[in-house]
Symmetry: C2
Subunit: 200 residues, 2 copies
């Protein structure tokens, strides 16, 4: 891992935080001093289930996939992460327990990483940073709530249509098999569903 | 709805907040002035899907169930809420959109309710209140993440065993049919599963 030097990289994080909280120059420097940057190649893992998550990751560039493996050995995609979003296994990160998530790069990826002691210190000592994460976690609850409800209540076609409307940019960046896995269907079922929708 | 007078009722909320943030007396009074109390009878709804959620609820006494109805008309229980926890449809509450959750009292219930303008005002003006909700939302993300992962990766027996270990108090308070619905199985399947486990 490298200390942070690249300006456009660090700017991405500060710009994101400043959308939700006003940082002074001193606070910006303090925050950056708590992060390290890392590059991942396509297919490289940033976290593997069973190991403790050492970092929460702010994605500067690239695309990642978080997935779990069920008791039968099948993969299920939980979410995709792209530029200007956070990804990690929060349960493992905060409780220092083995992760259930696997997180793998789908594209060459650059991320800014923070350890739990630095994260807790920043939240404890800087109200603006805590405000930023109050909002991030609030959005996280709302997004997970929506995902859970949609999985339970929508038909396969409704789930796919919602996905194409909400994440049109992902359709080009993510292999179909992972989109199918995210939507809880086989690649073959997704393929026939797309065909059916295009013929409408 | 009633203004807050009952001391043991308001104490429950203040005790809970003080576990995570230190409130002054003045702050405690300010917070209480933003809540109203309400009692619900068994089976009464505190929120119905399709209406906008007007309040987030802190449960002082009682037990509630949040559930959704799928496109086939089947109910799915998302979670149970008991004393000293929050329940609501956050997406609807913060975005002023129609709720997807139904929330119904399973027991006579007393709750402290706050409107979104008061909630946002307290978070904006009182760092301790924001800290409390940063932690509540952080726990919320971790809990929803765990729920999603377990639904996808564990066998029916593993899900039931986890539930009995994590929520032993709910086994006595909540009808079996709702526990079955929470675990994603029919009441008949849960009944045969319990029989099988008890014979081990």
């Amino acid at each position: 891992m490298a200390s942070i030097e690249n300006t456009s990289m660090t700017n991405a994080l500060l710009i994101h935080i400043n959308k939700f909280a006003d940082l002074s120059e001193e606070q910006s420097e303090k925050i950056l001093s708590c992060f390290v940057s890392k590059k991942y190649q396509k297919k490289e893992y940033i976290l593997q289930a069973g190991s403790v998550s050492e970092h929460e990751c702010f994605i500067v560039e690239g695309c990642l996939r978080a997935f779990v493996v069920d008791y039968k050995g099948n993969e299920h995609t939980l979410r995709f992460g792209i530029e200007n979003s956070w990804i990690g296994d929060l349960d493992s990160f905060f409780k220092r327990e083995p992760a259930t998530y696997n997180i793998q790069a789908l594209e060459p990826t650059t991320a800014l990483m923070i350890r739990v002691d630095k994260m807790n210190e920043l939240m404890r000592t800087m109200p603006e940073f805590e405000q930023y994460f109050r909002i991030m976690f609030q959005y996280g609850v709302m997004s997970l709530q929506k995902r859970l409800v949609q999985d339970l209540t929508l038909s396969a076609e409704e789930r796919y249509t919602y996905f194409t409307e909400k994440y049109p940019h992902l359709l080009q960046r993510v292999p179909q098999k992972h989109i199918a896995s995210y939507l809880g269907m086989t690649p073959e079922f997704l393929s026939s569903l797309r065909k059916k929708i295009s013929q409408k």
